[in-house]
Amino acid sequence: MEIIKKAKIEKGTTLIELAVALLVLLIALLALAQVIAASVILNKKSREIMKASIICKQKAEQLVSLAYADTTSNTSGTLVANADGTYSYPTTGGSGLTAGGTVAPNPYTTASTLTTTTNYVDYVDDNGNVVASTGNYFYIRLWKISTSGNVKTIEVTVVGKSKAASHQVARIVTQVSN
């Protein structure tokens, strides 16, 4: 009897101990899985920011290519194909490089409100295409033109559609002169 009891005390692990050990292992694994999940989310965020900065630059380049005195081009419009195979942005129906517009607040948080100005805003889907404000867009692109002497400052900002999901803001400032 003495021998059996001793053996029990010294060599065995109770099921409770085993269960506790497994529980600890479980929690550790779950924590590790969470780290990986976080990394996946961060990667996705990083791609969204990259796309935001690309479409931000796209708008800045489009505005830079306008004539300094242009006040009519529809910069919110989509490309129109020319007969010779080239493309143009609509030259009427907008306000070109007229001073005006608003940009997104920075930082852009859930508490922020977005003031948009017609002709100084467009909506972009995940592939970079301009879509209607009622369409399935992913980014909102806002720009502001201000004039000082013979230099116009162009500021373009991009924010995600869902403030809760995408807080990123991309911003480009550039200048043109006559």
Partner: protein
């Protein structure tokens, strides 16, 4: 003795059935956790591949963007790039100004030097006679200091077509060959900012799903595609499932921008086929020299006072919060 054993069994032990059930439950839970874990690892691996692809796209786009922005820049002010003619005839000379055909002539700006015979003429003003360069043989006045050439004199230019350096048509004469150009981007100018003309060609290879770049220094005329002795094209981006270049004209009809649309996917060996997403990127790049060439035409003339003292700066900032 038997009693003792029984007591022991009842008080601190478990039956084999209890043990088995407990183990099966634990096993089930562990299996679930492990499958979740292994899925996480798999997704993470895919995401890393996607993220790597993103980075490669970014690098490739930034290379193309840098070169397109520099396209059309003239490293030698004594060279007047013309298209397609290689010479410019002076049509009238009056009070320090000479009238020449400015159509298809780019790269003349205030402060430049035009070389005529052995004399250097410094440009002080450039005026174009029409706001619209689409008018054939557009004349213009170039005010210069120095010994003026006589009427009928020929200023030698070189055949570097297209103001802005974006060759949207093959021959440089406005006759488009669009079927090939939508997947090929040809630009020229002082692309490396080292004082020499370079010609660069980006091509989409739809068979191998990649974009290649070939570049060479040019001294005379821009080579026709396919006939020049290019440097061996090298791949700048792999796993491109679609690529398209759109040439965008400004309001006066000059091609000034290129819209690049790329669809990429992560490498096959890094990701399970069913999970292999494609991503589309669009970027517009504007040739700074094309804008310069156009604004002269649009505003009529470019006075020295209106040239900005500093090159416009571009600030790109991506801000994120999590």
């Amino acid at each position: 003795m038997k009693f003792l054993f029984k007591k022991l069994n009842e008080k601190i032990g478990f039956s084999l059935i209890e043990l088995s059930i407990a183990l099966i439950i634990l096993l089930l839970v562990l299996t679930a956790v492990f499958s979740l874990f292994s899925r996480s690892v798999k997704v993470n691996k895919s995401e890393l591949a996607v993220s790597d692809t993103d980075q490669q796209v970014k690098n490739a786009l930034s290379l193309i963007a840098t070169e397109v922005e520099r396209a059309g820049s003239n490293p030698d002010p004594a060279i007047i790039p013309t298209s397609p003619a290689a010479s410019i005839t002076v049509s009238s000379v009056n009070a320090g100004a000479m009238t020449i055909n400015l159509n298809n002539v780019s790269g003349i700006n205030v402060g430049n030097t035009i070389k005529y015979a052995s004399t250097n003429l410094v440009v002080t003003k450039v005026s174009r006679n029409s706001a619209y360069p689409a008018v054939a043989n557009l004349a213009g006045t170039v005010t210069v200091t120095g010994t003026l050439p006589t009427v009928g004199a020929v200023i030698t230019g070189k055949n570097y077509p297209h103001p802005g350096g974006i060759m949207y048509d093959l021959a440089g004469n406005g006759t488009a060959s669009w079927s090939s150009n939508s997947t090929t981007l040809r630009i020229f100018g002082d692309l490396n900012q080292n004082g020499a003309f370079y010609y660069t060609e980006y091509k989409y290879d739809s068979t191998n799903l990649r974009i290649t770049r070939a570049s060479e220094m040019i001294t005379g005329t821009v080579p026709s595609a396919g006939t020049a002795t290019y440097k061996v094209p090298y791949t700048i981006l792999d796993n491109v499932t679609a690529c398209n270049f759109k040439y965008i004209k400004d309001s006066v009809g000059n091609v000034v921008s290129v819209l690049i649309t790329l669809t990429v996917r992560p490498p096959n060996d890094q990701i399970v086929a069913a999970n292999r997403p494609t991503y589309t990127y669009q970027i517009t790049v504007t040739s700074r020299n094309a804008i310069a060439a156009s604004s002269i035409k649009r505003s009529g003339e470019l006075a020295a006072s209106s040239i900005p003292s500093a090159i416009p700066s571009i600030e790109i900032r991506a801000v994120a919060s999590y």
